[in-house]
Symmetry: C2
Subunit: 144 residues, 2 copies
DNA sequence: GTAGTGTTACTACGTCCCGTAGTTTCAAGC
DNA sequence: GCTTGAAACTACGGGACGTAGTAACACTAC
């Protein structure tokens, strides 16, 4: 599977608001939907609700409410499709993860940033370090 | 100022629970206190309350409550000092930041981790990249 | 030993977020 | 027009947090 190109220089970096548990699960389902049906313009409430079948009992309207709240937070975007809406995540999972990490890092004073990064790397597995180095190399290869 | 050595391999990595705004400010004050009075075994409620003077009107008991909640979350540790308690952050700011970043990263699937890191680096300033590379070099120099 | 004073411990309350879902409205098809 | 699928609106209980008052308790100074 080809890696989607990173958008050309900071695509107005995604927000990363707090998310409740159910909200997170719904996002999960949405991301999954996106990966599966590339064609569709997003998942309907019905689609998302269906994904809960057998996994968790949840009312249709609950899914609606959650999706509504997620869209208020700009975590999902919706477009009309007939009389229904189609919901899609505003950002990829990876972009959101990265944004959250960035927000966390930006909270501390710049002078201590390196120490924080040191701690971060200290807890990293070697596989993670490898991933990081690869990513770093790729960024540098792209030049400025 | 000498950098404190990173604890010898994952010191039972710090939790990173959600924190309210006031809770964060109090943590901030505590960290600041630690940096200033190295000698003291922590800050008392009175100390922390004093730090709010001129910055924000807040009741003494409010500070107590907040510190109590923070200690329930294990974000701060307290020890008796006469009839008062002395509070100190359970972890350094940098360690907590790192732990939070790690938790965020660990939420996503390993297979997409590299992409997330790529996004993360994509939003980094060159100063940040430099810090990261320095930290990376240091980790590697330490060997396993 | 009695009255103050510093500290903690206990209790409380309003607000906001979130999980959860019922009820109402609206549009379209039959 | 009546049914039906979908959204819109409304609601409510629980938990976290900001906020702080009051009670209890121990030491200090008379």
């Amino acid at each position: 599977m080809a890696r989607p190109p990173l958008s050309p220089r900071s695509p107005s970096s995604p927000r990363s608001p707090r998310m409740g548990d159910l909200e997170r699960v719904v996002m999960e389902h949405l991301w999954e939907s996106m990966a599966q049906d590339e064609a569709e313009g997003g998942a309907t409430v019905r689609d998302v609700h269906a994904k809960f079948a057998g996994e968790r009992e949840i009312a249709y309207t609950t899914v609606m409410t959650v999706l509504d709240r997620l869209s208020r937070k700009d975590l999902v975007t919706r477009v009309r499709d007939g009389r229904a809406w189609r919901y899609r995540p505003s950002d990829t999972r990876e972009a959101l993860t990265a944004a959250t990490m960035r927000n966390t890092l930006d909270e501390i004073d710049v002078t201590n940033r390196r120490l924080a990064l040191l701690h971060f790397l200290d807890g990293a597995s070697s596989a993670e370090l490898a991933d990081l180095k690869a990513a770093l190399a790729e960024i540098e290869a792209r030049g400025s």
